[in-house]
Chain length 321, copies 2
């Protein structure tokens, strides 16, 4: 049995590896070769923690297992450790024996960033020049860093509810040598690609904040009631997602479907675009919207990838289990 | 982070420790201090395997986590390893960090045996003399060994669909110095305590196979459709269980409730008897029936206990995770 501790992940996993792992598993999901199990998510009545399991099986990648963990809101203040805590466990699909245990914190950030990047690769216009960011928290830095590798962006524009956090993402733009500009939400209409990565229960982004031809990846909505963008935007856009069942229940599409503006059949798998069974973007003025809800199979995919890297580089801990 | 491999469990965990852990967690469940999460159980479409997660949180014992694993029917033939494979993962309820990983195969056998033992302690007549076994497979040996410690039994009687397997349990009776006798099902009426531990979809034990005053623990039914005893027996008995929600959906009580012979309110928690909030047996000719469905909290309880023992005895593997 192999162990890859959290502290080793940064030295092993590249954005490119995460991208490949997530792209492959989205494709496998759409082919029917990989599926997610029902999600368990419990308010445990201790430390205000949310805890649960996201599991799945990818027959193509032979990855079976789960991510376990959750959100402990008092961690940083009480214990000096981050509030999101997760661990990935991989099992041997041939025998049911545990195969690996992998720190899941950085991997979660990387796989979430990879998901919007995969959507940009397959759905954004090739000539996209302006990258827009809605949100400037810790995860936003991961999303932007990965996004900037997908097109030759000439400018990053950013908005955040608390403008004092914008330097977080300005720093990432600087590192990539791309100028940064803070804009009001109305200014976002200039962007060719937008990522929204906020945690909110009322939409910030209205339909007229997004210009024709834009690709927008909505990455912040993963719970019933959360909402980042006005439902009317989904009616104007061609909507894609990681998993349709999640998109219409806990993702951004829950509101547009609930209001009758779109139907389940209007939501398409990003994996189908990757596989070529859906055409994806069909014109330069089409708005494409990716509803990234986050699935357990992404976690298994990046964890399986990092286990291979850890073995290759000799940093995997082997335990006779 | 602490690891206790499967091979260490036999040298660490005693029947007495398993008994205490299971008795305490049943009591905590009934007090509302511990609860099980919804169970995930998936036919993964590979090797005919069933795989899933049983999780929970025991606030009294501060045990949070899950058992993951399942049933790989081809394991023994193809790989020379047992078909049931499971691993228990414990998390720190204060931070969400993974605390321990524990081999779950022997623990599962021990906690299942402990459950029927706890039911015998609290529900069987004090003067019980004849122990009856329905079933003689691998798990039956665990159940019988643990049961024989609960009363001064003078005889073990046994029945199995395949009589050639009866020597499995005869051996256990011999080891305990108690005479063994094979009986037809009708002969089971002589028993003061009965454990049924079979995997069947049609009942073997009819209501008139069980005598007045008997305590019967039904330990084999954990799935919709499975059934060990005639539903009419539950109507004659006072029915107890580990978890009422499981008992009436996937446990032995599913059939009696489904047929309208008993109601959900007729099924009582064994934990309530342990806590003294239910009187348990109230007369010497009452039939008591324990529907042991198996809950994740039992797995967490024995795993937490074995982690303590492993640390105490210096065999815990510590990994800087």
């Amino acid at each position: 049995m192999i162990i890859v501790p959290e502290k080793e992940i940064a030295g092993l996993m590249t954005r490119a590896d995460a991208f490949t792992a997530v792209e492959q598993v989205f494709a496998a999901m759409s082919r029917g070769d990989a599926y997610n199990f029902p999600v368990i998510r419990e308010a445990i009545g201790h430390e205000d923690a949310l805890y649960g399991f996201k599991g799945g099986f990818d027959k193509a990648g032979m990855a079976l297992g789960l991510k376990a963990g959750g959100y402990w809101p008092n961690n940083l203040e009480k214990h000096g450790v981050i509030n999101h805590q997760s661990t990935v466990f991989l099992f041997d699909p041939d025998t049911g024996k545990v195969r690996a245990m992998v720190g899941g914190n950085l991997l979660t950030a990387l796989r979430t960033a990879a998901a919007s990047s995969v959507s940009i690769k397959h759905l954004a216009r090739k000539d996209a020049k302006v990258m827009g960011m809605i949100g400037a928290g810790h995860q936003a830095t991961f999303q932007l860093r990965a996004a900037l590798e997908q097109r030759k962006f000439e400018k990053v524009i950013g908005w955040n509810y608390h403008p004092d956090m914008l330097p977080n993402i300005e720093k990432i733009a600087d590192e990539a040598g791309v100028p940064f500009e803070a804009v009001p939400l109305e200014g976002m209409v200039e962007a060719d690609v937008v990522i929204s990565i906020t945690s909110t229960f009322a939409p910030s982004v209205m339909a007229d904040h997004i210009g024709a031809g834009t690709h927008i990846a909505c990455m912040g909505t993963d719970t019933k009631g959360k909402q980042e963008v006005e439902a009317a935007l989904l009616a104007r856009a061609t909507v894609f997602t990681d998993e349709i069942a999640q998109s219409i229940t806990i993702g951004e599409a829950q509101h547009a479907v609930g209001a009758g503006l779109i139907q389940e059949s209007d939501v398409h798998e990003l994996g189908a675009v990757i596989n070529g069974t859906h055409p994806g973007r069909t014109s330069d003025d089409e708005i494409t919207l990716f509803d990234g809800t986050g699935v357990g199979l992404q976690d298994l995919a990046v964890a399986a990838s990092v286990v291979d890297l850890a073995i290759e580089k000799g940093v995997a801990i082997e335990v006779d289990f």
